[in-house]
Symmetry: C2
Subunit: 248 residues, 2 copies
C-alpha cells in the first residue's frame, strides 16, 4: 500500500479587492499547485472581505477542519490590514508588537522612518513564529496550524518557500490527463462513470473546455497509488480510442 | 441620500479541478466584476470539491446569508457532475428529468444520441426555472435564491447574461483609484487611516503591487454615494501629492 495518510489544507483569501473584482486573484491557483506538488491536499478555499468578524469566523471554521489553514492578504501597514488582529482573536491569544519583527523591519527601514503605521506590521500574535521573505521587510507568521501569508503574489510565494520545508506532507497526488478531443462528454459519460465506480479511491474527472467554437475535453485521473492511476488511465485511453473509432 | 439598500451575493465554485490546481479559476474575477457593475455586492466566495455533503453544506450556509447564491460547475453529463442533485438536497426538494430541459437538449442533440448520461443534464430540481444559453444545450437553473451556472467560463458568462435582467439590484459601487506611485504604504498609512475613520460609509483600501523590483501602490475608494467618493478621492490625491513632494 503506497497510499500515505493525507495531509489537508484550506486557503482563506482576505480582501475586499478580490470580491470587488478590482484585483484578480492569482494566489488560489498557485497555492493549489504548490501544495499538491509537496503532498498536501487543498480541500477548500474561501474569500472574505476586510471585516474582522468575517475573518475570525472563517479562520475558526477552517482551522478546525483541516491540518493547515493558509491565509493570504491583510498584513500590511494600512488601516485595512486587519488579518493579524483577527487571527489573534480567532485563536484567543494576545497580540502585541514583536521585537523580532521590529528587528526585521529595521533591516530595511531606517529607524526614523519606522512610524506608527509601519510598526503595525510588527504586531504578531503571541506564540507565533515569524515567516521571513526576501522581498518585503514585513514578516508573515505561523501559529498553531494557521499560516499567515502576504497577499502580494511575489511575497506570498517567497513566504510559502520559507515554510514549505517545515510542513508535514502526505503522499503526493499523481495525475494523468487523457485528451478526449473530438468527443462530447455525453458520449463517454456512462463508460467513465462505470470506471469511476470501480475505482472509488481515485478521483476521475471530465473537464470540458470551450474554445475556437468547439469543445476540447480532457479526462483526468488522480490518486496516490501510481499503479492504480496508470491502470485507470490506460482503461480510459482505450475507451476514448474505441469511441473515437466508432465515431469515425 | 443616493445610497440604496444593497443587494448581496455569494459565489460557490464547485470542482476538484480548481482545488487541485489543474484548472485556474476564471469565474471568480468575472462574476465579481459583473455583479459589481449591475449593483450587486459579492460578499463571499467558497471553492469546494465534488462531494455532495460539502456542496450541500456550503449552499445552505451561503443561501441563508446573502440575497443570491451563484454556483459554477458540476452540471454536465459525467459522474462527477453532482451539483443539481446537491442543490435539490440542500433545498429539500425533489429532482427529476425535466421535460423542458429534454426539449432544450433535443434542439441540439439527435434523439438517438440522447443517452442516459446526457439525460442527466435534464435533471432539474422541482420548482426551478431554467437558464438557457447560446453555447451549450444543457441549461442552468434558478431555484429560490440559488442560481446554478455552468463551470466553463464562456457558458457561465452566457448564462449570467441570461439571468442578469431579472436580478434585483441595488446602488452600484463607485470606485476611484488614486495611484501612489513611488510612495511606500507605511508613508501614508496613518493619514489614510484617519480618512477611512472619518468616512465609515466608504471602503478605502491600499493595494501594494510588486513588479520590476519595486512597489507600485494604488489607493482605492469605493462607495455608493458619488459625492462622498469624489470628496475622499480628492483628499487622498492631495495627501499623496503632499507626501510625494515632501519626499522629493
Amino acid at each position: 500500500m503506497t497510499q500515505a495518510a493525507s495531509v489537508t489544507a484550506a486557503l482563506l483569501v482576505i480582501g475586499d479587492e478580490i470580491l470587488s473584482g478590482r484585483t484578480k486573484d492569482q494566489n488560489i491557483g498557485y497555492v493549489a499547485d504548490y501544495l499538491g506538488k509537496i503532498g498536501i491536499d487543498l480541500r477548500e478555499v474561501r474569500v472574505v472581505p476586510d471585516v474582522t468578524a468575517e475573518i475570525v469566523a472563517a479562520v475558526n471554521a477552517l482551522r478546525a477542519r483541516y491540518d493547515y489553514l493558509f491565509t493570504t492578504g491583510g498584513i500590511g501597514p494600512t488601516h485595512d490590514d486587519i488579518t493579524a488582529g483577527a487571527v489573534a482573536a480567532a485563536l484567543d491569544v494576545e497580540i502585541s508588537e514583536d521585537p523580532r519583527a521590529i528587528k526585521l523591519l529595521l533591516e530595511r527601514i531606517k529607524p526614523g522612518d519606522l512610524n506608527e503605521a509601519r510598526r503595525r506590521m510588527a504586531r504578531i500574535p503571541h506564540g507565533a513564529r515569524l515567516i521571513e521573505n526576501k522581498i518585503s521587510a514585513a514578516p508573515g507568521f505561523w501559529i498553531a496550524n494557521v499560516i499567515v501569508l502576504a497577499g502580494v503574489p511575489a511575497i506570498m510565494q517567497a513566504m510559502l518557500d520559507e515554510v514549505a520545508p517545515r510542513l508535514k506532507t502526505g503522499a503526493r497526488m499523481i495525475a494523468e490527463t487523457i485528451p478526449a478531443e473530438g468527443l462530447f462528454e455525453g458520449a463517454y459519460a456512462a463508460a467513465l462513470g462505470d470506471l469511476a465506480a470501480a475505482n472509488p479511491e481515485l478521483s476521475i474527472g471530465s473537464y470540458p473546455a470551450f474554445r475556437d467554437g468547439g469543445f476540447h475535453n480532457e479526462i483526468v485521473v488522480r490518486g496516490k497509488d501510481a499503479a492504480k492511476v496508470a491502470a485507470a488511465a490506460a482503461a480510459i485511453s482505450a475507451m476514448v480510442a474505441r469511441l473515437a473509432k466508432g465515431r469515425a
